[in-house]
């Protein structure tokens, strides 16, 4: 077991190293520099800036320094926000990401299993059909669209929740829901099919013939056995969240979640008087590499 864990840890390190290397060189190859804009900087100021960020060094030195810094969890100063470091941005964003992710995971698991069980137990009834169509919607609608729909219904029309911004528990519900929809749908469908499988097993029939109540059979015997496969979903579901969060930053503007990490780190801000909007075009790729 220990050996297995060690091996896994080593492979994580190797993967991280490869990712860091690839992103570093991709960003080196990419044209332009962080200070590109319509209004050209006087060369002297640009030279000063380059020196400050270490961009005047030969690439291998930059690469070595970068590796050392990453290894010591120091991601350097932010290009986009003067006076802040990338570490600051992560420290700001990570708790929010974690919180939203956990909340979404909880919603997905709880309601996913619930729907799945109901659908299986009442197979081919209206409960089954409606919960499974809900699941299909959840799988096929990307979370950033789901977010807009939720905003429209629950925030604008019904006015139950704030549309955006961050502050209280109330602010977290819509984004967590939108994030949860896809994993929820997967879990519901998987729970349903495994439940159905299990319900057809001999030992369930035995239990039935013994005269156990339906509730006991469903919860004690069927559900417990189906859940072992439901667990497998936690992995993928969790990864979903990281993709999802990118959209969330846009829709709900949870001001601090994953994006800063990606943006700051792998695409030095193309920041300038007018250049700001264009900055945004650059990071999705970088984020996916990290995500």
């Amino acid at each position: 077991m220990l050996k297995y864990i060690l091996r896994r840890l080593a492979s994580i390190l190797l993967t991280l190293f490869v990712i860091v290397t690839i992103t570093f060189f991709l960003m080196r190859i990419a044209p332009g520099n962080p200070f590109t804009s319509e209004k050209r900087l006087p060369p002297e100021i640009e030279a000063n800036l380059n020196a400050h960020y270490g961009l005047d060094q030969p690439w291998y030195k930059q690469y070595a320094q970068y590796l050392v810094k990453v290894a010591t969890w120091d991601f350097g100063p932010s290009f986009k926000y003067k006076g802040q470091t990338v570490n600051d941005l992560i420290a700001d964003g990570f708790p929010v990401s974690l919180y939203l992710g956990l909340e979404a995971l909880f919603i997905a698991v709880f309601f996913g299993i619930l729907l799945g069980v109901f659908a299986a137990v009442r197979q081919n009834s209206w409960i089954d059909y409606s919960s499974m169509s809900l699941a299909v919607i959840g799988i096929s609608v990307p979370s950033f669209i789901m977010a807009a729909v939720l905003q429209y219904i629950f925030a604008i029309k019904l006015q139950w929740f704030p549309i955006a911004t961050w502050g209280s528990f109330k602010h977290t519900i819509l984004p967590a829901l939108a994030l949860a929809m896809m994993p929820l749908a997967y879990i519901a469908r998987l729970t349903r099919s495994t439940m159905l499988e299990v319900l057809n097993n001999d030992y369930i029939k035995t239990a039935k013939s013994k005269g156990f109540s339906e509730r006991v059979i469903v919860y004690r015997h069927a559900l417990r056995n189906s859940l072992s496969s439901g667990h497998l979903l936690f992995g993928p579901a969790d990864r979903q969240h990281h993709y999802g969060k990118l959209c969330h930053r846009k829709n709900f503007r949870h001001p601090r979640s994953w994006r800063p990490l990606c943006a700051e780190h792998y695409q030095p801000g193309l920041y300038g008087h007018h250049g700001r909007d264009h900055f945004l075009q650059h990071h999705p790729l970088a984020c996916r590499i990290v995500g």
């Binding site: 700001d92 955006a164 008087h273 075009q281």
Partner: protein
């Protein structure tokens, strides 16, 4: 299983409590029902992004400018009428040759009660020019004597032309007469810094707090990075009697659709420019509803010609291309935010007569004639011999639509073959600066309200932002003369002449002048938006 659920639930609840404790759980629903007589003087707006820096010497973007303009105050401030008025300065004198300004400061205080002194100005300007501080906007101070030399390390900071004679007198020496200097002193790079605090704590500007002090109508009390900024009225401000807003909340929400939804729901008092932007596809609807506000600003969207490549080295070809664009159609059908078709280089906020411009929009007949002549001059038999013209733009839906429309117009009106090529921003801008393009789109905004902003970049062939490789000795001479002219009327006349030469040579084809489009609460009054599109809330109030 149950245990795991319980654990998850507990974890979640615990997190919930931590987070709600952090958030402070503010609900600003508050006194809604207190009647019409006393509306709450709280302004809520979205500024879209985290400002680059709230240090006046480091800021280089509109978002930072929006915050600083309301928290700080320079020697002058742009007034409600768009003209500079005295602010921190009470009075000033200009020397005979126009190069020495002596400002007398009024009795004003920083938000912590310290007096604002001439030393604070001297400190701030020298700080920004100090190369080790890496200010990307230091060049705004190059008007000062030895400003550029000090910033590039060729002269000492002591030699820079700004000196506090005593606490209340600031003597500024300029490199050359600068007729628009009082416009500049309102700009954020020229704002003062509380030198006592800055010397003690070099990190004073990084967060809100005791050391973040300002001298303007509002002071910053909260700065949650990438979340929101809160300003409250500064009770130490010298002109506080004219400040009516008690509080300003600036959210940072990137998605403009969300912003508009929040406005409609009443969570914001303003949506759109100049704080942020309106979603393009909502503008038509908002206009139909009759709630859209549109104001022209000092900015132009134009197509640059590389005047060194064939056939664009020929003036007549360039003119033909410029005349054969139907700007009205582009503005009506593509950009749709009330933009003004541009047939001139300098925006109408500076030259009002430029709403009409130098030529007729969509003048296909003249264009055809010019093309004919141009072809002859270049030795082509007809259009089919003309090389394919490449139209370059940076990847963006709006730019693409405009490029496609122009491609279509040139083909239909002149029979010219074109190709579109788009590139990511960083690649694109490098290509233009290198001169590796034929026709390329660009936007240009003024830093201060003066025509020089839109002409100066074409003064030198290899100037940093010219890109067209165009140069004209007469044009250059006029610009240099205008710098020395002290009579404002005569000076504008010189600039007007320069623009005429420019439009006659057509190194760029202007497409449209930018506008600001926004929606706002009906009872919100006196938000001052200058010709540049800058916003000030000093005089704003809810009726």
């Amino acid at each position: 299983m149950k245990k795991r659920f319980a654990l998850l639930l507990t974890l979640l609840l615990a997190l919930g409590m931590v987070l709600s404790a952090c958030g402070g759980g503010k609900n600003s629903a508050g006194d809604k029902g207190s009647g019409k007589e006393k509306p709450k003087q709280e302004f809520r707006v979205n500024i879209k992004t985290e400002p680059f820096s709230l240090h006046p010497g480091l800021a280089n973007d509109t978002t930072s400018g929006t915050v600083l303009r309301n928290t700080f105050e320079g020697l002058t401030r742009i007034g409600m009428d768009g003209k500079p008025e005295l602010a921190m300065a009470e009075d000033y004198e200009v020397s005979e040759d126009g190069t020495v300004y002596t400002f007398k400061l009024r009795d004003a205080k920083w938000s912590n009660g310290d007096p604002v002194t001439a030393h604070d100005f001297e400190y701030a300007w020298k700080w920004a020019l100090d190369p080790k501080n890496e200010s990307q906007y230091a060049y705004q101070l190059y008007y000062l004597k030895n400003g550029e030399a000090a910033n590039t390390g060729k002269a000492s900071l002591d030699s820079v032309g700004v000196k506090a004679q005593d606490d209340k007198t600031l003597v500024v020496t300029l490199e050359q007469p600068t007729p628009y200097f009082l416009e500049l002193t309102a700009f954020y790079t020229y704002l003062p810094i509380n030198s006592k605090i800055a010397q003690k704590n070099p990190d004073w500007y990084k967060n809100a707090g005791e050391d973040y002090v300002s001298n303007g109508p509002f002071k910053m009390v909260t700065w949650e990075h990438r979340n929101k900024i809160e300003l409250v009225k500064n009770d130490q401000y010298w002109d506080k009697d004219n400040v009516k807003l008690e509080k300003i909340t600036m959210h940072m929400i990137e998605d403009v659709n969300t912003e508009l939804s929040m406005f409609k729901k009443g969570e914001l008092d303003w949506a759109g420019a100049p704080f942020s932007a309106l979603p393009t596809d909502s503008i038509e609807q908002l206009e139909k509803e009759g709630i859209l506000n549109i104001k022209p600003i000092a900015g132009v969207y134009w197509y640059k010609f590389n005047t060194e490549v064939k056939p664009l080295n020929n003036v007549k070809i360039r003119k033909a291309l410029a005349y054969a664009i139907d700007r009205e159609a582009i503005v009506k059908n593509i950009t749709k935010a009330g933009q003004i078709p541009a047939m001139a280089a300098v925006p109408p906020s500076m030259f009002p007569e430029n709403e009409k411009g130098y030529f007729k929009d969509n003048d296909v007949e003249t264009a055809k004639k010019l093309l004919e002549e141009g072809l002859k001059e270049l030795g082509y038999k007809d259009v089919s011999e003309l090389p394919v013209i490449k139209i370059a733009y940076n990847t963006d839906e709006a730019h693409q639509k405009i490029a496609q429309a122009i491609q279509d117009m040139w083909k239909k009106n002149l029979g010219i073959k074109t190709e579109l090529e788009n590139e990511e921003w960083a690649v694109y801008i490098e290509k233009l600066h290198r001169g590796d393009y034929m026709v390329g789109r660009m936007g240009w905004l003024g830093d201060f309200n003066d025509p020089i902003n839109f002409l100066e970049l074409f003064r030198d062939k290899n100037g940093g932002n010219n890109d067209t490789r165009w140069e004209n000795p007469q044009f250059k001479q006029l610009l240099i003369q205008s710098q020395k002219e002290r009579d404002p009327e005569k000076r504008l006349e010189l600039l007007k002449q320069a623009e005429k030469i420019f439009m006659d040579e057509m190194p760029v084809a202007p497409i449209y002048f930018y506008t600001n489009a926004w929606v706002q609460k009906d009872n919100l009054k006196d938000v001052a938006i200058s010709g540049l599109g800058d916003v000030q809330l000093k005089w704003a109030y809810f009726e």
